[in-house]
């Protein structure tokens, strides 16, 4: 497959749909979380309003060049991840640029945002940012480990690194999904998924009671708005990767919406009544529980 110019508007369309869906989905998740606390929660359109407001803040200050680039890097990570995996399997319009990238690139993009954030937040000079960043990097690293192992396991299983081909191999029946052909890898990856969603019990990076609120402490106005945009794109992009690798991908938008919702809901469901782990506790948790699963997944294959 070759690059064609028509892919650019198609990709932008994907991005547009995903951003809107993400804005609504995160609000919906917050509402579900609020219901657990017996509240109604925010209006479903609240994220749009917050976004407009933050873009509309008149003044902003900066701490240096990296401070600018941090949110930009982060957004690049999210958008890049989204664009280099096929959003809808088999669709000409929504396969984006997936012909050009493979799983390794996706893994790289997942990490890219955190690194950009680390540089940006470090520049802000706020001690809470620095603490949050160091916590974040150590936790993300250990959380990615089982995921990387799971990815290797299924790459071995399907003998390919191309996301499209992996999805293709899972078509036909529900029983062809990796979820059922390699449950160990999926389990390892889902545990890692919990760790990267910044929800309890693994939200020590943001931890408003301890280091309010971690890396983004100094970010405001448009910087924050950029990060908010990323915050709705990135989880969905990540879920798309998960969906493609483990849950048979999606061929139509309704299936896509449903699967993304369910996978997102998984992290909420687990976390909503939990307190958070301390960073060394969560690192240990990943090493003790998720890592062996990942190794076992490779061994089984």
């Amino acid at each position: 497959m070759q690059f064609e110019w028509i892919m650019v508007p198609y990709s932008l369309l994907t991005l547009f749909i995903v951003v809107n869906y993400g804005l609504l989905l995160t609000a919906l998740m917050q509402k579900i979380g609020a219901r657990v606390g017996r509240r109604h929660g925010i209006p479903i359109w609240q994220n749009y309003v917050d976004l407009i407001k933050n873009y509309g803040i008149r003044s902003s200050i900066t701490h240096g060049v990296m401070f600018y680039l941090g949110p930009v890097f982060r957004l690049t990570g999210g958008v890049g991840l989204l664009l280099f995996v096929p959003t809808l399997y088999g669709s000409e319009m929504f396969s984006n640029l997936s012909f050009a990238g493979d799983l390794i690139l996706a893994l790289y993009f997942i990490f890219f945002g955190s690194l950009g954030m680390a540089l940006g937040a470090g520049e802000s000079g706020h001690p809470h940012s620095a603490i949050g960043v160091s916590r974040g990097l150590s936790q993300v690293t250990t959380a990615e480990l089982p995921f990387a192992l799971a990815v290797f396991a299924i790459a071995l299983q399907y003998q390919t690194l191309s996301v499209t081909e992996i999805v293709a191999a899972q078509q036909g029946s529900v029983w062809n999904w990796t979820l059922f052909t390699n449950p160990l890898a999926v389990a390892a990856a889902m545990l890692s998924f919990l760790g990267s969603m910044m929800r309890p019990p693994f939200d020590v990076v943001l931890a408003p009671q301890e280091i309010p609120i971690g890396p983004p402490t100094e970010y405001h106005s448009s910087y924050l708005a950029l990060m908010q945009t990323n915050r709705v794109i990135f989880p969905i992009a990540k879920i798309v990767v998960y969906m493609n690798l483990f849950f048979g991908g999606a061929a139509t938008w309704p299936v896509f919406f449903l699967k993304v919702f369910l996978i997102y809901f998984f992290s909420l469901f687990v976390g909503v009544v939990f307190p958070r782990f301390r960073v060394e506790q969560s690192v240990r948790w990943f090493l003790v529980w998720a890592l062996p699963l990942g190794i076992a997944a490779i061994l089984v294959v």
Partner: protein, 239 residues
């Protein structure tokens, strides 16, 4: 509120003479100029107040867009009030019921932000002692324009119960540009919700320009603040 403030600014009250210092307050040690050794052995002078802080004051930020965009922004600002999580006084106790099942202010786009950078509404929840006033000013100045201040309770209006206390200020609007007062001791959550509703109306109408007012009359506010805070050992404006 703004008209009244302008009126008062025109006939500047000759505040009472600053009382003579009975004891001199030394500048805190870490703010004194000192020699610092760099990692490679070179030495240089550090003057914390000069080097670590920007000396410039705030500037007036005019709405640069067309009317319709400014209206859209104002609507968004009104519907997305992020309160700074700084409970300055006893009013903070009614904040928790406000954000929980019974009253659930999240429904109206109100939420807490733990850092002043991201907040746009500062709720002064009750009396301010001089020590807290100092922190409140710094927190306020770190918020980004446009920002709003709501004074909660009688004690922010005229001192309330603590009218004769030696440690609490009596008029909040001398020190920070207040957009709205909510009366009561203590104001009920319903009153708070009503107050936020009124604040939203002000914002939508484009009347809540406290931050610009602060920038315009920066010297007046600073003079008032310094009259009360005797050990002013921070930069004049905290960026």
């Amino acid at each position: 509120m703004k008209d009244e403030l302008d009126k008062r600014l025109d006939n500047q009250p000759d505040g009472p003479e600053r009382r003579g210092s009975l004891k001199d307050i030394p500048v805190r040690e870490e703010l004194l100029p000192r020699w610092v050794k760099g990692p490679e052995g070179q030495e240089y002078v550090v003057e914390p107040l000069q080097d670590y802080f920007c000396q410039a004051g705030p500037t007036v930020q005019t709405p640069a867009y067309t009317r319709i965009i400014e209206d859209l922004f104002n609507w968004a600002r009104a519907e997305s009030l992020w309160i700074l999580g700084f409970g300055t006084g006893c009013g903070a106790i009614e904040m928790r019921p406000l954000m929980t099942p019974r009253f659930d202010a999240y429904r109206y786009g109100i939420q807490w932000r733990p850092t002043p950078r991201q907040a746009n509404l500062f709720v002064i929840s009750g009396y301010l002692s001089v020590k807290t006033l100092k922190r409140a000013i710094r927190s306020y100045e770190q918020m980004q324009n446009p920002k709003y201040v709501v004074g909660l309770g009688s004690c922010t209006i005229n001192g309330g119960m603590y009218w004769d206390s030696y440690n609490t200020i009596k008029r909040l609007d001398d020190y920070l540009p207040v957009d709205l007062y909510i009366t009561g001791c203590m104001p009920r959550p319903e009153a708070l919700l009503q107050g936020f509703d009124d604040l939203k109306k002000l914002i939508r109408a484009g009347k809540a320009e406290g931050a610009n007012h602060y920038a315009e009359h920066f010297d007046w506010y600073k003079a008032n603040q310094k009259r009360v805070i005797k050990d002013w050992d921070m930069p004049d404006y905290s960026w």
